[in-house]
Symmetry: D2
Subunit: 306 residues, 4 copies
């Protein structure tokens, strides 16, 4: 059903929308990326891999790291603790970096807004930022089936320098008793985890694991329990595309998690993982061309969940 | 796969949770309903109907009417106009009757919060509340395949008397230029549309139409275009269970729309429609026992979308 | 110390600022007023009256009526009930017509924002809007020592037609249990009380009564107890100039209450009452030229409270 | 008019209210203070000093330091820059440590809420926290006419350890471009300036300087220009008692600035400075007994501004 032909058509369709978007502007390393990059990679459970466009260009994982850290935190301290004590599971109409709701709600709304992701990051085990990050990096490599994945040092340094809004969120969470442990260690880890370089190919494999109920299709290792893989796919659908999640559900209908580096991870359960890369973002912060590729595939293949 | 046995087990499972909920307390007609009522009805595309429990007890449709009015408004003035000019399609973390966001956003977040539903109601054609309601009632009867459906006059009168928060929303929307036409006519229609008596059996049929791409399975009449039926199912998943939608997606994984009368409508695309009735509500305003029935069916049958 | 010369200089100084302001734009009757009108009238306790500029041009009292209704409500139901049960006495940084705070606070912040003023209006005795307004009008005539004061019917009708934001506030207050009685009667009275025609001369006398501890200087009748006259002067200082009250306290330093009709009432305790009229408003909704007249007088006469 | 007798009566009156309040609970050094301490000191322009109760017990200056830093910042970078670029001058109905408004407003509402005070602190010259604090301490000694004034090291350390909410505000302000310079240096200075030990006697002198148009009555040095002393007295009236400022204006009617250490500074222009100390706080964070002393004096001496 899914052919290389179709994937190329989808890429072609998406290309028209890259010029309407803009790269993330808050740090030079993201701003100066070629905004016309666009690529899509699919991997199915039978080992078939299809690629079109810029699928081997590295980009920073950014908010897609929130998927990895969420899985790791569930492994480290249990879903019950995490979802009952630390973060909610409800979408919010506010932008990803909003602080307003923290004054009226005790917990961040969900693990994919920054306040929630910082909280989740604080739950990952490790005696300091170095150890936390080492564990994160190792797990990301496993999830992406790529031992070469590494930190983009320049992006990390820029994130750390410009991360005052995230610092404000973290200290607020600390003051509210939500975030435990050392705030600066937590933030340092958070900035690093957002700054790991991946490719669309990597993201496709990570999505495939989630589509395969949390089981690595190569060695059959269960990286996360099936029930939590399912829960995460549901969360991706309701909250994964920032405050554009509702529209994405209507027009595309996939679980997805985007990052301002231009990536989108899409797990289609029992079917395939999709990784997209396109650094030109729409006004919600999602890959403009990437969304259009996914919309094209959803419509042509009739594979919306709805 | 779905047997009468399984449905009875689901009902039995759900029963244990009715005592933990409470009927809606704001009007006597809802408050005084027997909170132990519980029923579930399923209808599939082959005409198989299964029922367990209180599926023929009438209850007021309440917010499930927002589905009907949304379909009618799309038919009356087009989805483009509705979703681009009048209401958004994003979930919000705020309660259903919140007014706060209206001061910072131009349009209500989505058609299922009260502010959005009142706006949608204002888009339905009709020279006055009587004509609007007549059209609504006729369309509800068609969607539910039940010519006997009628207004619960006592509930309507109570809703009208206690509806000051909704009046506040409506006048605010009028002042912002979102709501057009006469506010009191719009509200009068809104209170009536919420006060129509239906049964779980009715709701199952309505859900079946949505599951069947908007086509009435008996006479094959297209009541709404397939693309909009799909869009509405997506909206139900992200926004249909108030600020409990995220958790419902994780634990049950169906598109659903609930009402404080105790009903839940569930369209499972290409599969079946489910109607649930259980007036004991959880703290989010959703049927406590009803959710548990759906969770049971989702798990036993493995039919979560995720 | 205060001479006709000085008053003319102040008027001259203020004139330069009228062109920078705009008349209120939301109804034609206010919009189309000559924005270059400017006048100031002072009355002292010895009966000296000074006037400069347009002191006999009628304009609608608008929010200055909130002073009159507050006095009347204190007389009708007592300051204790009013300030403990119905409205607060704290300034708020929000605009006069904001609804946001109502969702988090039980009572409106103070009697001079619209939500508070509508609540105060609901506490005035009278079997219907007619009777309430008759009592209000009679009391306004007494406070202004002018039997000719009457309703501006055209403004009233426009206010009523465009008053949906106020309607939203009123229904919200009703739903919260703050506003008692019939909402539409209350609003009808509220719109009428805002639409009474007065002059700067009238406003000066009203201010003189407040400056004279609530006692009418002509017949020595106590129109409000001295302690409440004092409380109201304090409230005028902290809340009387909308969200420009803080700056007005710093630059002018008088208790004052403004209205979008262009009036400002200023009671200088034991000294005089000042009435100003200048329909060109600044961006906070206060008379642009009027504020400058008062600033001039405050500086030249050294009579700031601070 | 003001006699030692009257001051003792005022103290006696205030004593009854200390048991209704509570010391600040967030750090042990404040929590464990004897909550029955109460003292009041007045100094007039003729050099008369009256004292009653615990006027020589040291307590931390806390938010009263915001007066000192505001004066210093005006001296360092000018009132125009400060009030036009950095902070507003309007009261807000929100609590002193609220972060909500920062998301909708560019600048903090006024210099006395924490967000505003941190911003003001960032405008004080000094190459690091040490130098800033040295200048602050020297200036405080001058304002209080007491060379012995020094840092309470234990309070400072506790403030620094528990100051995460203030850290969140500071990083938010940094991210918004309001706060310039190093955030941690600014916060370190802020925590120190709040932790200086003073007495009611010291606070009375500081208030006397403000009452004397900014001029030190002993050596006639102008510590701040008269126009800014006046502006600060006005700000104290509208914003000085947190979200209890409106009620304090009505019941007492003085410019005042309180701190959670239990102090209140009151400048009565051309008349006297008053310093109060009473660590039992009301629910707004103001000295419960201290307010009652001031209310008593205001009523008995008839010296409310209103």
């Amino acid at each position: 059903m899914l052919t290389e032909e179709l994937l190329k058509d989808a890429l072609q369709y998406g290309k028209a929308f890259t010029k309407l978007g803009m790269t993330a502007q808050y740090i030079p390393q993201l701003r100066d990326v070629n905004k016309y990059y666009l690529g899509v990679c699919t991997m199915d459970l039978d080992g078939n891999v299809l690629e079109a466009g810029d699928t081997r260009i590295p980009f920073t994982i950014q908010s897609i790291s929130k998927l990895v850290s969420l899985i790791l935190a569930i492994r480290d301290c249990g879903a019950d603790h995490l979802f009952h004590e630390k973060v909610g599971v409800e979408p919010t109409g506010d932008p990803f970096n909003s602080i307003v709701k923290l004054e009226t709600k005790t917990r961040p709304f969900n693990p994919f807004i920054n306040a929630g992701a910082i909280t989740v990051a604080s739950c990952i085990k490790g005696k300091d930022a170095d150890e936390k990050f080492e564990r994160f990096l190792e797990f990301t490599r496993k999830l992406c089936n790529n031992e070469e994945i590494s930190l983009n040092q320049a992006v990390y340094e820029s994130e750390r320098e410009t991360g005052d809004r995230n610092r404000a969120l973290a200290y607020y969470l600390k003051a509210s008793g939500i975030l435990e442990g050392d705030v600066e260690e937590c933030l340092d880890f958070y900035f690093r985890m957002c700054s790991v370089n991946v490719t669309a190919h990597d993201i496709a494999y990570m999505s495939l694991v989630l589509a395969n109920h949390g089981v690595d299709p190569l060695d059959q290792e269960e990286l996360i329990e099936p029930q939590y893989a399912k829960a995460i796919r549901a969360l991706m659908l309701t909250c994964g595309m920032y405050d554009g999640s509702g529209e994405f559900a209507m027009t595309v209908g996939f679980p997805a998690k985007s990052g301002v580096g231009g990536g989108i991870a899409v797990p289609l359960v029992d079917r395939m993982g999709i990784g997209v890369f396109g650094p030109a973002l729409d006004e919600k912060g999602n890959s403009a061309g990437g969304i259009k590729i996914l919309e094209y595939l959803s419509n042509k293949m009739g594979i919306s969940l709805f």
